[in-house]
Symmetry: none
DNA sequence: TCCTGTGTATGCATACACTCATACAATATG
DNA sequence: CATATTGTATGAGTGTATGCATACACAGGA
């Protein structure tokens, strides 16, 4: 019952010039990957986020919208928003396509931040290996 | 003499929702932090950047302007733009921290979308290598 | 049924980001 | 001095991001 509140408390909007909806999108994706939000979890309400961060409802919706298009959320009218099941089946070519998509997004993000893709690749490999062990 | 050209070749603008001037700002800051741009170096001309990236002169100026306000650049009318003396914050270690942050965020996103981190790493490496060649 | 909490959808207003075009001002060079 | 180069500046026009307000549509419970 406290999950949403805890997530809410972690959200931060910074005046860096990066659009608010982008900041929200990244923070939620990260919370999911870190396990602070898991499949089936109810997300904080759009209105909750809007009020808590003193941000417009449409802005939050913009973020939730993109997360749904990414397949990370399920938006259910009248009920709420929920973290989607990460398709574990995602086999064969479908998996390759998704992987490719994300890989390109990542390179774009790295370029946008001026981070060397090769250095980034190495770092990811190391962290991924660490995660393998701990699980 | 090749410095500007080399820096120019590393610049990338991606449609991530992050404003172009922010992308430029970050990339230059990181080039400084990584030592690819050091005190006294002449920056590529605003017009060079504008033409190379097919972006408006005012947009580039916006980025250079912020960098000057940050103390990272000295803009000299009629002569050019130069990296300031104490190339500000974001030194080597800070750069590593940023890379680390992005790496973790990527792993988070991958987990959230049900994508295998190792497969992702390989794909990124391939795409990054391709990009290196084409430039 | 009625009420409340959701997501969904408008319209209006403001500010910002970006492009395009056109200059002006200072510096360097011939 | 003339010219080119570079930074500086402005205005028009378009699209987006954000905020504020007001609804509508659907689900669940009293």
């Amino acid at each position: 019952m406290h999950t949403q509140d805890q997530i809410l408390a972690t959200l931060r909007i910074e005046p860096t010039g990066v659009p608010i909806y982008v900041q929200l999108r990244e923070q939620f994706l990260r919370a999911m990957g870190a396990g602070r939000l898991t499949s089936g979890d109810q997300m904080p309400t759009m209105r909750q986020v809007a009020v808590a961060l003193r941000v417009d409802l449409n802005t939050v919706r913009h973020a939730y919208d993109e997360l749904e298009r990414l397949g990370a959320l399920r938006l259910v009218r009248g009920r709420g928003s929920f973290v989607a099941e990460p398709p574990p089946a995602l086999q064969g070519s479908a998996h390759e396509i998704e992987t490719d998509k994300l890989a390109r997004q990542i390179l774009a993000a790295a370029a946008a931040l001026g981070i060397d893709p090769l250095a980034l690749t190495k770092r990811i490999a190391v962290l991924a290996a660490d995660q393998e062990k701990s699980s």
